[in-house]
Symmetry: C2
Subunit: 460 residues, 2 copies
């Protein structure tokens, strides 16, 4: 428990009602989607960057670790208060400050929920593509800090590609702006992109300038069932090799189909062992042509059935299948380790084969689905922790999955980040020299190691 | 002149023939497109990253400044050896190592010339969009270091948006890789984007992993003449407000038209005071519809004439007009200060009015053309340095142009960078705190201030 002098100082900064030390309240800020728990000593609810600046200066003076937090929906523990100290939540900073239709730019506070923002811009015919699965509750500040992805990234890129500028509070408490609201800008180092995906270790995001696109006129969704995972994986390569980049190119393996079949009323013909959900978007007339072309070129790859949605309701029904995956997995086993390796997309068949071998070798069920279009697979290792030895098996399997992805020229994480969950595996992916280069940056910017210490292996 | 001991050590690293101290040779590496001259003491031609690593270690041990250089085509002096010392040129590292058609990824050495690379990938139906005006001679390494732009960036983004990973030699001589060849990756800090546009101050780029796109099926070019610059500027906003993002959206003001008319056989009707060159690309059938739609919505804005190219030759003829601009400017006055401010595109009319007022106030001709679609204007202040007082007038005008752009929410540089040319103006754009954050990064990574000292104001 922090000294009452410090609590009082925090109250002076943000007001009495915006500082919490009540245990029940602290508990709410002690976990994220990793289901790990670390109790903070205090939770602070600032509503301006000036308040955050004063908080950071106090934290530096008193050497109290600070853990910035959006919605706490991260999968790797980026927002967990691993060192006690202070959680600074941006949930009160939830205003959309501007949607500029002439320049296709929006300015928001970090606490705005992603889906809410998407709906607002879509009302005026604009489009914010990044669509992490958590979009109903995750915040844009968290999305930027983690560089969130999602199905549409195969065509549209990740969060980083839409961030033009930021206001941040530095680890030592300065308020700075990076980038701006122009489409181009090369004055000084690109701190904006450096902040994206830095997982709250280099600054607290207090304002975000976002680039928008015109909303595509229409979209067309198709669900294709294959007789083998190999066929589906080859279809991904084939589509791209034919110079078509669909808006989404999602896949599910046979085990995922089994789970979904149990959980929903999905009718799947016998012999379907993999699914691709393909969505194309753009000019209405163009879409039919593109969907037909896709159906044609993938036909020889073991297609069992192709369903093309003709109405928005039919499209929604197809997506419902994809969305039901996460919940339905629990039917396999109660505990899930959700990894998100990414490989060059042509290596997808190799990666899936490797994962199958790993699952067999360790006797743990592994369920694969995800963003096949950009080679980003969600590898779900399903165990029951209560059974002795299962956790160790899962851990060995995870390490082998990471090594397998790296052998194929891939990465341990396409969109979830490192946080605390993958920090131990970092030496598999980054050389000591590369890690040292990153650590030097952290140390230079956060000499007291106040901001999110213990994350992404950047400890001073 | 460097000690012969050091010259010998360099010869040992790269071989006798790859170290130059001959004055005539040094002269070739003393200038860039700024037409300023700084003599290096030695020029080194490495061909591997290992050699560059050894060079950097030697430079640190001996405290010799190192100036990496691509083609020396930069407009702000980024490659100029301002502090004597060593020019390290990457011109021998000019191999395209891989074009991976399955994954739409290429790997190149930094010395590959941009246009040559574009032609190679286009042969297999792929597309590398960034198209700086210097593309016939500038190198990809230089493009990454400066984050080069070009006309197509309005739709496709800048160089940074296509760089997935890098191999770099750090200022202290380590060889590190950043990013990778996957479409997504969030392990550790994003050093790849940090390097893009860092103007050779944080590392020497030795390998580049590039994301490619499918080559658009077709394109359609139109040239539209307006009776006022205001009409043309409004047309830009109108097109974007109608949710159309053309591949290019270039403009020229009345003075530019006058120059081009003198230099080429361009036939322009009386009363045409501004030009837009608009190119749309994509599916063939879709293009006609889009071009017609554009013509329709901009018609009320004072359009004098619209020319739509029906063949590639006609398209080429329209582009030839745009390309002849730079050379034809010299007709106005012998000395050119080429700035590249960028404003939110809706502020284009305001910015042009400001520039006209500045030109009138100081009695210097200012010729404007450039990438209207993303608000990036090339502001060319044309003087004759030999006339006393002209240079001072130009300098005052430049500062006012920068201030004007910043007042409108813009930036001093959309694509040329800071280098030495704009370093003095940095306090206009960046606060002391933002600058300090950048300087801390430089100091942490280059403690001896060896790599490109004196650039982008990052002096230790």
């Amino acid at each position: 428990m922090l000294d009452s002098r410090i609590i009082n100082a925090l109250r002076e900064v943000v007001g009495k009602d915006n500082v919490t030390t009540d245990k029940a309240d602290l508990l709410c800020y002690s976990y994220d989607a990793t289901q790990q728990k670390f109790m903070p000593e205090v939770v602070v609810h600032p509503s301006t960057s000036e308040q955050i600046s004063r908080i950071m200066k106090l934290a530096n003076a008193e050497k109290i670790p600070v853990f910035p937090r959006g919605a706490g929906s991260g999968f790797t523990g980026g927002s967990l208060p691993t060192g006690g100290g202070m959680v600074v939540t941006t949930e009160r900073m939830d205003h959309i400050l501007e949607i500029d239709q002439d320049n296709l730019v929006a300015v928001v506070e970090p606490g705005v929920v992603t889906e809410q923002f998407q709906k607002e811009v879509e009302k005026v015919g604009l489009f914010y593509p990044p669509d992490p699965a958590s979009l109903k509750f995750s915040t844009l500040g968290g999305n930027v800090a983690e560089c969130a992805g999602g199905p549409r990234c195969v065509k549209y890129g990740v969060t980083k590609d839409y961030i033009l500028g930021l206001e941040i509070v530095t680890p030592t408490g300065d308020i700075i702006t990076t980038g701006g609201s122009t489409m181009k800008g090369v004055v000084g180092l690109d701190l904006t992109k450096l902040m994206c995906g830095s997982e709250g270790t280099l600054g607290i995001i207090t304002k975000i300038v976002i680039k928008l696109l015109p909303l595509p006129e229409a979209k067309k969704t198709m669900l294709v069932l294959f007789d083998s995972i190999d066929g589906a994986a080859q279809a991904v390569s084939t589509i791209v090799r034919n110079k078509i980049i669909p808006a989404t190119l999602e896949f599910m393996d046979g085990r995922t189909i089994d789970c979904v079949r149990q959980a929903t009323d999905l009718q799947v013909p016998e012999g379907a062992r993999a699914v691709l959900i393909i969505e194309v978007d753009g000019d209405r007339e163009f879409l039919d042509k593109q969907a037909q072309r896709i159906a044609e070129i993938i036909k020889p790859l073991g297609v069992v059935e192709t369903r093309i949605a003709e109405t928005p309701a039919e499209s929604e029904a197809l997506w419902q299948i994809r969305r039901s995956v996460s919940a339905s997995l629990r039917k396999v086993n109660p505990d899930k380790f959700n990894e998100d390796i990414c490989v060059p997309r042509s290596k997808l068949p190799d990666m899936i084969r490797k994962i199958d071998q790993i699952a067999d070798r360790h006797g743990v069920p592994i369920v694969n689905f995800g963003h096949a279009g950009d080679g980003n697979i969600h590898v779900n290792i399903m165990i029951d922790k209560k059974i002795p030895g299962e956790l160790e098996k899962a851990e060995r399997a995870i390490e082998e999955v990471f090594k397998g992805a790296l052998e194929l020229g891939g990465t341990m994480s396409g969109e979830h980040g490192v946080g605390i969950a993958k920090a131990a595996y970092i030496p598999l992916e980054l050389t000591e020299e590369t890690a040292a280069y990153m650590k030097k940056i952290k140390k230079a910017l956060d000499p007291n190691n106040i901001l999110n210490p213990g994350k992404i292996f950047l400890d001073n």
